[in-house]
Point group: C2
Chain length 127, copies 2
Amino acid sequence: MFKPTEAELEILKVLWQHGPSTVRFVNDILNSKKDVGYTTTLKFLQIMNEKGLTIRDTDHKTHVYKAVINEADTKNRMIDDFVNNVFHGSAMNMVMQTLGNQKISHEDINDLKSIIAIIENKNINKD
Amino acid sequence: MFKPTEAELEILKVLWQHGPSTVRFVNDILNSKKDVGYTTTLKFLQIMNEKGLTIRDTDHKTHVYKAVINEADTKNRMIDDFVNNVFHGSAMNMVMQTLGNQKISHEDINDLKSIIAIIENKNINKD
DNA sequence: AAATATATACGAAACAATTCGTAGTGTAAA
DNA sequence: TTTACACTACGAATTGTTTCGTATATATTT
């Protein structure tokens, strides 16, 4: 499956967050973080289109690009890759190390508890 | 702070797991996963040494390389980077998405519960 | 001591990702 | 209708990473 490069991911994030967008719009958003030339952004969107990462509407002079690949799936795939590369494939190791190292709020803890409860119930039902 | 490339990380993992090692040893381990030429591994260790990622003992003909950077710190830094790149800086988002997508065993759940308990206690003591 | 094996050093090729300049085209304003 | 502007297309320079060949030194074996 597909793994976006870092620059491609930045663009995908814009498309995921804001929906189908013009090159100009994507470029403006990118520039709020870091200087990027317009034609650089354009080039990336063209490359991403070739790769099938996006599709575009070329009916009008100004093309509108839309992410083809799904945000959750892509992120899951990236998590898998990361876990494989850095944590010898153990997602739990990664989670534990993250929890041990982050500031976790009360709310976060509640969220964690409820997702754990959900997982537990799934397991019970499975047996 | 420093971020190893993928190839460098592979080597660091060997050094972390097995302790100070010769080029030959590192190369043998790497080759159990994927063909890598001996001089490729050598070159990387030389580069890593220049960058201060490793130090080496050159007393004998065969040099012995040792990781300078710490495993936990490096991994935490890589988690931070990953979370910033992919999850807009929210580690909790990343953890939640991981938990929602992985097979979690009974034991894992217990581990999670205990680390959550630890975090809760830390918070209580802080207030 | 010569031949063989095993090291290191290092330049440079190969490959991948990023960045941008320039050319060309269509649209709208003067 | 000429000029100005904003857009796309695309080649190519730049930068970073990976890979390896070749030269050379140092041991070890015959």
